[in-house]
Amino acid sequence: MRERTGSIEEPTENGDATARRPMVEARSVSKVFGSGDSELRALDAVSVTIREGEFFTLLGPSGCGKTTLLRMIAGFEHPSDGAILLDGADISGLPPYRRPVNTVFQSYALFPHLTVAGNIAFGLEMLGRPAAEVADTVERMLRMVRMEAMRDRLTSQISGGQQQRVALARALAPQPKVLLLDEPLSALDLKLRKEMQIELKRLQTETGITFVFVTHDQEEALTMSDRIAVMRDGQILQIGSPHEIYERPADHFVASFIGETNFLAATVETRTGERGRIRLPGGLVAETDLFESMAPGDAVAAVIRPEHLRVQPAGSGSGLAATVATIVYLGTDTQYHLRLESGEMLVARVQNGPSGSPGLADGAAVEASFAPTAVRVLRD
């Protein structure tokens, strides 16, 4: 499983990212908490390279080790094995206050005894910057996060969204080489979260600072990231651009974790070079990229995204025959839960046109069709 990590790392669409120098490197980092029976391996020989100026996201369910990795870059945890490099230098042994890295905490962790300006100034004061420079930078930061009017408020006297912006300004003020963000948006309501996503992206572009963002929210990851590392059980399963991760998930877990997916049992029919034909239930055939190990006759898992399925009344010809089990109206689109003849369930997501959703009722016999290119196979 491990050797795969390297091989999936494909060049990103934005080509110059590969040319940039590495800013953070984790070299087969492991972290073990506890010992004996209660031993917990939070990270298992994880290697990853985050490049300068990148918006890099560690994505995974809780307990996957993403926060542990982040805390190691910050210096709150130390690797049991392996090394963390920052801008080429090994920082594994440095305490947090000796690392040019700042964190935006999930809880914000703003100092309640200091004002908004006092919070932003804290890091600069600790670095011993001259008062004039501190005052200057604080002003600039307040302007950047649009909090000038709140300068003298205590942090308990401002809203959650404002606290979030102060936490950002406080972490950005010392101009760290890397900004770490530990699920900073999870405490905000949906609307504010959307706004902050755009705000974060703007700040990252403006400052050019490398952002390492931790989240369990795949949508958040897809929206903001240059590259995403999908993690599970202390390992990185796949690293790639949002597009790659979504369109070419490396395995079953990545496919199911990122967006909704339908899994279908399929068989490889023929193979020519990298590509091949696979047979799906109901006799349908699709052409797709195959992994090296796959040969004709192999049973493979095929995935198809719900938005790539079309739902038509039965009798139109090419498609998987199914009956409608449930219809969920979602506003912009409608979700059809379909039952195939084999008993397998399939979800289709159809965009609602100006005339509303197509008039299909529960129990209707339908056909689900898709473009032959919409199907991908997974490594099993």
Binding site: Y97, T103, M126
Partner: protein, 295 residues
């Protein structure tokens, strides 16, 4: 709150209020009245108005020629009371802070055990504990005999009946009163703030000075008051460990009501002590009000 509810709550509080009023203001009133009367020949008071009691708090009148001089002995005792109390507060804070920090950073289940251990001295009577200290530090006591047996000293060191022994005794007695409020404050401290400070380049000392101490200040102030006020009125500790010559205010007051046979002076001294305490409390209340304003 509805009016009936308010009335009922007052009613519930009435017995305690009456008790407090009777127990606190009654004796206080007596003390105030006695302080402006003349002393009786053998004790008690003569019902004749006089300012002599108050006068004698700070001044001496020569028995032969009525010349007035400052009551040096009293001033020394006031000074000793104030300085010993301040030092007690300082040392309990110095010892109590790391203790409370240690307890507050233990796993939850261990904390209860440590707190329990801190309160164990309360199980034994203060007088007995103080005599125990005396047993340790007196000239023929455990400390001196051990040091002599080890050959570190030739003659016993005079530890008992010094200001230092009084201070040590008071620090010992009042330490839990410092640890408990400090623990309560440190327990509420969000250690993620400490982490945030480390992240923002604060060294260990800077974290303590700039984050932890400002945040646990209410606990520091509460603990200081809880230690300082009873220290000021300490009676048993200076009596047992200070002997006759290292008196504090309470011992002086007792002397006036006992051998001194000067109740008006004793009463005036009591009220003086009360005034000291009031000053400390006003400082506390103002400080707390300030904290509240700042959120």
């Amino acid at each position: 709150m509805r009016r009936a509810e308010i009335r009922r709550n007052w009613l519930l509080a009435t017995p305690a209020l009456i008790l407090l009023l009777a127990a606190a203001s009654g004796p206080l009133l007596i003390a105030v009245v006695y302080s402006v009367l003349e002393p009786g020949d053998y004790s008690g008071v003569v019902w004749k108005l006089s300012g002599e009691g108050w006068f004698r708090v700070l001044f001496n009148r020569d028995i032969f020629d009525d010349t007035v001089s400052l009551a040096d002995a009293h001033l020394t005792i006031f000074w000793r009371s104030a300085s010993l109390s301040l030092m007690t507060t300082f040392f309990t804070l110095l010892l109590g802070f790391p203790t409370a920090y240690f307890i507050a950073t233990r796993p939850l289940r261990q904390r209860m055990l440590w707190l329990f251990l801190v309160t164990i001295p309360f199980w034994t009577n203060l007088l007995i504990r103080t005599f125990a200290i005396m047993e340790v530090i007196r000239n023929e006591g455990i400390a001196n005999s051990t040091l002599m047996a080890l050959g570190l000293i030739d003659a016993p060191i005079q530890m008992l009946y010094t200001d230092a022994s009084v201070l040590a005794g008071m620090v010992y007695v009042y330490l839990p009163l410092m640890v408990l409020p400090l623990y309560a404050s440190l327990d509420r401290l969000d250690f993620r703030l400490v982490e945030a400070a480390y992240d923002l380049y604060a060294s260990r000392i800077a974290v303590l000075r700039r984050v932890i101490i400002p945040l646990v200040k209410p606990g520091i102030v509460a603990g200081s008051i809880l230690v300082f006020i009873p220290s000021l009125g300490a009676y048993v500790t200076p009596r047992v460990l200070g002997g006759g010559k290292n008196m504090m205010i309470s011992n002086l007051i007792e002397l006036q009501f006992g051998e001194g046979r000067n109740w008006p002076l004793g009463a005036a001294l009591s009220i003086t002590l009360l005034a000291f305490v009031m000053v400390a409390l006003i400082f506390y209340v103002r400080n707390m009000a300030g904290e509240q304003r700042n959120g």
